[in-house]
């Protein structure tokens, strides 16, 4: 057991993956000497060399496109997109090529590529540095979409993502990069496509991922003081979703709230609400409620506390599930 910040835990996961497999490469802007703007790749170029930790030209489509070519040659590139809002120049390569080439080849091509994206708000950043674009990618078949929320998952899930023979879009909650927790390197991790109950409860199932897991755990602590028991589920995998876990929990509690930073409209919460309603209709005491960003672009940072769902907005939704 060691105590690590999330950024450092992912760094350790990357290091271990590179030690385990000489085909693993790191690619991205400023990932070399600088170690990435969040230092997630700190020290890796020094230890593994410039051929394995590649400072790329400043062009996101180029990063993904050349990573595909390297994967066709047998490499396992881990690409860093510097910020969420900068993934869109790469969207074409991700959606038309990365996600579809294995099918195009009838399974003869595998593209074990990981696209790491620091995402979400809460760091007082300028425009394009606080977005939550996960739904664009969950809507794209052929990709796996995963989100870590804590250092232990950061360490283990990045390794699982790299080992996967499928392309993985790997979201990292940037405002939690500096949060520390214990990491057990020797524990057998949960399967990559499984969610996890991070706080058991009996009254309401609260589903979250990434940065909102911590917020929802804090909400559960506050609710407990008022005698209400929230079960908090960290979804971890957004594509595919661990629907077995979600349905089992909602069938027990009868109430469900989904929280994410991304806009509610056409967000993950919409998909989850529809599926929970289909599968758990007779167990539900209330409609599935969603908490998330507004249907606006991400606001200037002085307003982000209003945009980002906080403990009170989660609890407000929890309260509303008792009014039906």
């Amino acid at each position: 057991m060691t105590t690590l910040a999330l950024a450092k835990a992912i760094n350790e996961g990357l290091r271990t993956a590179m030690e385990d497999d000489p085909k693993v490469l790191i690619m991205g802007e400023d990932v070399g000497k600088l170690g990435g703007v969040f230092r997630v790749t700190d020290g890796l170029q020094k230890d593994f060399g410039e051929d394995r930790v590649i400072d790329t030209p400043l062009a996101e489509s180029g990063i993904i496109g050349t990573a595909i070519g390297l994967a066709l040659r047998g490499y396992r590139p881990v690409c860093e997109i510097q910020f969420d809002g900068f993934v869109f120049p790469a969207a074409d390569q991700i959606i038309t090529q990365l996600a579809k080439m294995p099918l195009r080849s009838l399974g003869k091509i595998k593209l074990p590529i990981v696209v790491r994206i620091p995402f979400g708000g809460g760091i007082g950043a300028v425009e394009h540095h606080s977005e939550s674009p996960e739904a664009y990618f969950t809507h794209t078949s052929g990709l796996r979409v995963a989100v870590c929320s804590n250092p232990s998952d950061g360490y283990h899930m990045i390794r699982q993502a790299i080992r996967s023979d499928d392309p993985v879009i790997f979201f990292e909650p940037k405002r939690r990069y500096w949060d520390k927790a214990e990491v057990d390197r020797n524990v057998t991790p949960l399967p990559f496509d499984r969610g996890q109950v991070v706080r058991p409860g009996t009254d309401v199932t609260v589903l979250a991922y990434g940065p909102m897991v911590k917020t929802c755990l804090e909400a559960a602590t506050a609710a407990a003081e008022e005698g209400r028991s929230l079960e908090v589920v960290d979804l971890r995998s957004l594509s595919p979703l661990d629907t077995d876990l979600i349905f089992e929990s909602v069938r027990r509690t009868g109430r469900c709230v989904v929280a994410h930073e991304a806009p509610v409209y056409s967000g993950l919460g919409a998909e989850i609400a529809a599926r929970v309603t289909e599968a758990c209709f007779y167990n539900l005491e209330a409609p599935v409620l969603r908490v998330g960003g507004f249907s606006t672009p991400y606001p200037p940072s002085r307003l982000e506390d209003h945009y980002l769902p906080d403990l009170d907005r989660v609890l407000d939704a929890v309260d509303r599930t008792f009014t039906f």
């Binding site: 489509s61 050349t66 595909i68 070519g69 390297l70 066709l72 009838l106 003869k108 496509d193 595919p240």
Partner: protein, 364 residues
């Protein structure tokens, strides 16, 4: 290489065989082909034109959804395709039927894509010929990444990527030039400038000759007569050799002409004058090789008849096997999307299988 930096080139267009079938010398490029090798190139040119013709006919008869004809571009494709070694890797657009031929891909596999039974499906690693890429220019980055892999493996190989004049406006193509340049990647950019991007003439893409773009990115560019199979072979061979020897990328602009429509869905009479086509017919890539073989008595009438007969057989065979291609089973829609088991697809597959089973004959 001293020559090929674009503006300083002593001869702007590399040509080794005139449209009349005369061998001409070029100061920077030469080629020494045996009679047998020339006959083999002629055979390639004729056979791929025949496959292409059959495919157009199949589309007209409703057996293919669409077809992108290579008519007029045979020399560019056979010349460059025959310059490749087995270890080299080719990245095509959707029109490289001639290169596919050189790489040993069964033409029927190409037809499968246009018939709609799959999106490709040949094994790129078996032929070192990547799948067709329909999004314009995307494959240029794949080729550069692959070349970076070759560098890391320390292998003696290069990649070659095909694209058209329209693609040179794409961001990905320009990014691939930058990447190839700064990483000195062993890649050859083979641009078939067939003068038309569907209906848009080259003036809509560029104010300068395309091969001169290369100098701005820091590597050599050369324009070759794309209807001259000798010149395409010689220039591509040299560029691949340079790439394999660590001299980095080359942009080859094969100056050619799309004799037919962009695809079978297109009507070029709406945007180009008939005279242009007539002028290019005089530069036909096959006729000049035939004239060369005749004039130099490297082939007799029997040879030409034999090639024609072989082409007719190939056309018949391709047609027959195209019509025999079975439609995939409905549940194959879920196959190969992921390499590893995926719970959502498993669930949807089971649900659709159950739905199909409610129909007589299982919905097929």
């Amino acid at each position: 290489m001293t020559y090929a930096s674009g503006a300083e080139a002593p001869f702007e267009l590399v040509q080794l065989l005139t449209p009349e079938g005369e061998r001409v010398e070029h100061p920077a490029y030469d080629i020494d082909l045996t009679a047998e090798e020339v006959r083999a190139l002629y055979r390639d040119l004729v056979l791929v034109r025949r496959v292409d013709m059959e495919a157009v006919a199949l589309q007209r008869q409703g057996e293919l959804g669409i077809w992108a004809s290579l008519l007029g571009q045979e020399a560019a494709q056979i010349g460059s395709g025959r310059a490749l070694t087995d270890a080299d890797m080719a990245f095509p657009t959707y029109r490289e039927h001639g290169v596919a031929w050189c790489r040993g891909v069964d033409p029927v596999n190409l037809l499968g894509l246009f018939r709609g039974v799959n999106h490709g499906g040949w094994d790129p690693a078996e032929h070192n010929f990547h799948l067709y890429t329909i999004v314009i220019g995307s494959q240029t980055l794949h080729a550069v990444g692959y070349a970076m892999g070759i560098q890391r493996d320390g292998a003696e190989a290069a990649s070659i990527v095909y694209f058209g004049d329209g693609a040179t406006s794409q961001g990905d193509v320009n990014e691939s030039f930058i990447w190839a340049s700064v990483f000195n990647a062993p890649v050859v950019f083979f641009c078939q400038n067939n003068q038309w991007a569907i209906s848009e003439p080259l003036e809509k893409q560029s104010r300068i000759p395309l091969y001169r773009r290369a100098s701005g990115f820091g590597f050599p560019g050369v324009r070759v007569d794309g209807n001259d199979v000798f010149a395409c072979l010689a220039v591509t061979r040299q560029a691949l050799k340079n790439a394999r020897e660590g001299q980095g990328p080359t942009l080859i602009e094969a100056f050619t002409y799309r004799m037919g429509a962009h695809t079978t869905s297109d009507d070029p009479t709406r945007y180009r004058v008939a005279g242009e086509l007539e002028a290019w017919k005089l530069k036909d890539p096959i006729e000049r090789v035939k004239a060369y073989l005749f004039k130099n008595q490297l082939a007799d009438q029997e040879f030409f008849e034999k090639v024609d007969a072989e082409a007719a057989d190939l056309g018949r065979d391709v047609r027959k096997r195209c019509l025999e291609m079975p439609d995939p089973h409905p549940l194959e829609i879920f196959d190969h999307v992921y390499a590893e088991p995926h719970t959502l697809l498993k669930e949807e597959r089971e649900q659709y299988a159950a739905y199909l089973s409610t129909f007589e004959g299982g919905g097929k």
